[in-house]
């Protein structure tokens, strides 16, 4: 278990684009355009992922075996679309990043709470 954590630490911290892509794929297989739409929805329109950034990140994630390319699907509107799936390693990395971010948020809240001026 400890060796697994050490292995995962080499992936952390994730860049915002990588985090959003992994988070989008955590809900199921998606094609590129759907990932872009999902990222936009997750961030409430604040983070817009372009195709260049998306496929650059997907390329790296596939190479590092965090994401799998599951190919085209019959019956899709556009036959050019390919679907991507979050692998087990990708899911573990996403979980580790979520835990890390939780610790960061907890620490930030504690510090902000401590620094809050007291009422007279």
């Amino acid at each position: 278990m400890r060796a697994m954590k050490e292995d995962l630490s080499e992936f952390l911290p994730l860049s915002p684009a990588t985090l959003h892509i992994l988070l989008s794929l955590a809900g199921g297989d998606l094609h590129g355009y759907a990932i872009m739409q999902e990222v936009k929805r997750q961030s409430e329109g604040q983070y817009k992922l372009g195709p260049g950034t998306l496929y650059d990140n997907l390329q790296k994630l596939i190479e590092r075996r965090l994401v799998q390319d599951v190919g085209q699907r019959a019956g899709d509107d556009d036959p050019r679309r390919r679907y991507y799936r979050l692998g087990s390693l990708g899911r573990a990395v996403l979980a580790a990043e979520t835990t890390r971010l939780e610790a960061v948020v907890r620490e930030a809240k504690a510090r902000l709470h401590a620094a809050r001026p007291r009422r007279a």
């Binding site: 094609h31 590129g32 355009y33 872009m36 372009g50 195709p51 260049g52 950034t53 496929y55 650059d56 997907l58 390329q59 190479e63 556009d78 050019r80 679309r81 390919r82």
Partner: protein
């Protein structure tokens, strides 16, 4: 027109990236509505082009992957690895500096005649003085009789001149 330009932009990407993702990127472009969105994708395409050529040399060609077999170790190969241009520039610079240093050390050691006046001046802190030897040279040294000899700090430098060309024709 913008679609044609975007397609050209995708064709300029590295081969592996182009084969794998260009059709999907074009598919996304086709789904965008409006000139503003298309222009934004064009800008994204230019950024992607620069990024892929400058920052992702490892993905210019398809990475070589060895299928894993049970009990057989899988070795990482650098067959498809291409170093970044920045690394090549750094390597070239270091090689040039090392090569120049070695050449200087080999060609201009401290005992080299070319550096002797400089070293003498450095050691004595005085101006270089050249003088002819006052005592007559030994009779068995033929070169010293014919050529000027300079002495500096106990070291003797022989200035050997090339012999004059013979004007008499050579007989067969």
């Amino acid at each position: 027109m913008l679609r044609y330009l975007y397609r050209c932009l995708l064709r300029l990407h590295p081969p592996y990236f182009r084969r794998r993702f260009s059709e999907e990127m074009l598919s996304i472009f086709d789904q965008q509505m409006g000139a503003w969105a298309a222009a934004r994708l064009m800008a994204d395409g230019v950024r992607s082009l620069l990024r892929q050529w400058w920052l992702r040399p490892e993905f210019w060609e398809e990475p070589f992957t060895q299928p894993a077999a049970d009990g057989v170790p899988v070795f990482y190969t650098i067959k498809g690895f291409k170093p970044r241009p920045g690394w090549l520039v750094d390597g070239g610079l270091v090689s040039a500096v090392v090569f120049t240093s070695i050449c200087l050390v080999m060609g201009y050691t401290w005992n080299h005649p070319a550096l002797m006046p400089i070293m003498s001046m450095y050691r004595s802190g005085s101006k270089i003085t050249w003088r002819r030897p006052t005592s007559p040279p030994p009779p068995n040294v033929q070169v010293a009789n014919e050529q000027p000899m300079y002495v500096d700090g106990g070291r003797v430098v022989l200035m050997i001149q090339a012999p004059p060309k013979s004007t008499t024709p050579v007989k067969d």
